[in-house]
């Protein structure tokens, strides 16, 4: 049985890369449901897809199985063991109508260890049948946490920009797997760099609606937005501090792109470094004391970090022609960035203790890498056959790349929201 401690998990996964990485085999069987004609039937697929996407599980093919168990007592251990399955997730559904058009569903499900012939947990979850995907994500999160020791992210949201044509852009939020998309902003002008506040309530983004880039903060619940920064020149690259009270931003007020920190209410701005080179794409270390950023001060774009108390700067990346778009894992131990080599832009991760670099994707036009809130997955954009930009996830062990389907249009500038409390 695999038991990994929470915060160090991503590092362990990185270190076992190179063929030795293992995935947990699990059978996720259809839940018993007397009413066959509804989407709720798909719950087990949602769960299996979640676990698969993480790269830490390999849901086994159950298409050849004629009869599924619906109760922990019905599991035929030797049969499932023969299918190489270490765990089985099974269950049954009960539906109750509460008024008109308000079908409630109850899932009574069990996670069973086939090797040990032992039930790990049996849990009942209830909710509106319409939200069957959310219930399924919840189940996947519980299983994930039980078997990996780390919090799951299957109930989180992502945000992305969709460009329908050069005069039509929308900022969307959706479930982490691309379902239930909802536009929170429509504009005739480009929108870039959306960033979720760590408290989950707001999104900061850059809009070109004033014929130049300016930064807005939008309340997701109310849709109300405020102009955070409209200083002379370009205003861009918002990055929330871990406590959601401040943002690092980039202005060209003094000529070239420079980093400033401003309170979320737009007051109390101060410059972090003063150079003539490009300083951009700031991102906070989880300790709130350092910013990582990209800069061309050394002749090519590389990633540096600055201690905000001392203004001391240290170069962080050395491999590759250019390195861009830094962000950190929640434990601060891994640097995620865009690496350019041989005209290919790929998502890469650097262990900040050993400085070992691993390329997670193959390029050639990957962009916008960002960690899932537990640091186990990365959301990024890529170009389909070198043309249309799309989004997908890659597991931090590099084993699983999965597209996210959010329909047609150019999908860009994706970002991941925090775990909801």
């Amino acid at each position: 049985m695999i038991a990994l401690s929470g915060v160090t998990h991503s590092l362990e996964v990185i270190e076992i890369l190179g063929g030795k990485a293992s995935q947990i085999p699990i059978a996720v069987t259809p839940f018993k449901d007397d009413d066959k004609n509804n989407d709720v039937q798909l719950m087990h697929e949602v769960i299996a897809n979640d676990l698969s996407r993480s790269g830490l599980f390999s849901p086994i093919d159950i298409s050849g199985v004629s009869q599924y168990p619906y109760d922990e007592r019905d599991v035929n251990f030797s049969n499932w063991s023969a299918l190489q399955s270490q765990f089985i997730l099974l269950g049954k559904l009960r539906k109750t109508a509460v008024g008109r058009n308000n079908l409630q569903v109850e899932v009574i499900w069990s996670l069973v260890d086939i090797y040990k012939e032992k039930t790990i947990m049996t849990i009942s979850l209830k909710g509106p049948a319409k939200q069957y995907r959310l219930i399924a994500h919840r189940i996947a999160d519980i299983v994930y946490e039980k078997l990996t020791g780390s919090e799951g992210i299957f109930q989180t949201n992502i945000a992305f920009v969709k460009k329908f044509n050069p005069k039509q852009y929308s900022l969307f939020i959706s479930d982490y797997d691309g379902y239930n998309p909802k536009a929170i902003l429509n504009s005739k002008h480009p929108i870039i760099s959306p960033r979720w506040s760590p408290d989950g309530k707001k999104i900061a983004y850059v809009s070109f609606e004033k014929k130049k880039p300016v930064i807005y903060i939008q309340n997701i619940e109310t849709g109300k937005r405020t102009l955070l920064a409209n200083f002379r020149g370009n205003n861009s690259a918002p990055a929330w501090s871990p406590d959601s009270r401040k943002l690092a931003i980039v202005l060209t007020y003094s000529l070239n792109s420079q980093i400033y920190v401003i309170k979320a209410d737009g007051s109390d701005i101060k410059q972090i470094m003063r150079t003539r080179s490009i300083n951009t794409e700031p991102t906070w270390a989880p300790n709130g004391k350092e910013l990582y950023f990209s800069s061309d001060r050394g002749g090519s774009a590389q990633i540096y970090k600055v201690d905000m108390a001392t203004n001391e700067v240290e170069r962080v990346t050395y491999e590759g022609k250019n390195n861009l778009s830094p962000s950190l894992s929640p434990d601060g131990k891994l640097l995620l960035f865009l690496n350019q080599e041989d005209r290919k832009y790929r998502v890469a991760v650097q262990n900040l203790l050993s400085n070992q670099v691993l390329k997670l994707t193959s390029g050639p036009d990957d962009e916008s890498p960002i960690f899932s809130p537990n640091g186990h997955m990365v959301l990024f954009t890529y170009k389909d056959y070198g043309k249309t930009s799309k989004i997908g996830t890659v597991s931090i062990n590099g084993l699983k790349v999965t597209p996210i389907d959010v329909g047609s249009g150019i999908i860009m500038e994706s970002t991941w929201g925090p775990i909801k409390n």
């Binding site: 370009n234 070239n256 490009i278 794409e281 203004n311």
Partner: protein
């Protein structure tokens, strides 16, 4: 001829300056940034063209701009990942500098980048190209407060460009207030 030689040497200096390693000069800690004009508290905006001290083009100037073959070219192209102005664009910049000085015109330089790399870094790169043109104009006597710079990054770029066609997007364009 003399003027163009002077410009060439200034451009060479600018280009050389661009490739050197910059020293990070720390500023006073916690010091407020004195000359930074914040947007107003009531939410009113800092207007792009309103920042420029130069004048809106008069009808005479507009007519001259429209009629002049020399001023028709407004775009300065750059090499991949670069922001040094190439010699072949000295004449173009010189023609516009003369026009700006003659009419005390307000100017906005728009910087652009090709699609490769991140949107934010390309915004910074486009800005650096706009700044290179601004500095070249200043070197020819244009008042720095008459020039505003803005970057569109890769937002106007051809997302499917390949090879040399991407060069069309590595560009700074000269725009005039009031046209």
């Amino acid at each position: 001829m003399k003027k163009s030689l002077l410009l060439a040497s200034i451009l060479a200096l600018l280009a050389a300056g661009c490739s050197t390693t910059e020293i990070n000069e720390p500023m006073g800690l916690n010091a407020p940034f004195p000359e930074l004009e914040n947007m107003t508290a009531d939410g009113s905006e800092v207007d792009l063209e309103g920042n420029v001290s130069g004048d809106s083009l008069s009808q005479t100037a507009l007519d001259e701009l429209a009629a002049s073959g020399e001023l028709a070219d407004r775009s300065i192209y750059f090499d991949y990942d670069r922001y040094a102005i190439k010699e072949e664009f000295e004449g173009l910049i010189g023609n516009h500098a003369a026009f700006i000085n003659k009419h005390s015109a307000g100017v906005v330089i728009y910087g652009n980048a090709d699609y490769r790399g991140s949107h934010e870094y390309n915004l910074a790169l486009g800005q650096k190209r706009a700044v290179a043109v601004k500095q070249a104009l200043e070197a020819l006597g244009v008042d720095m407060s008459a020039i505003e710079t803005v970057s569109f990054g890769e937002e106007h770029a051809n997302q499917e460009c390949t090879g040399s066609t991407c060069g069309q997007d590595r560009r700074a364009d000269i725009g005039y207030v009031g046209e």
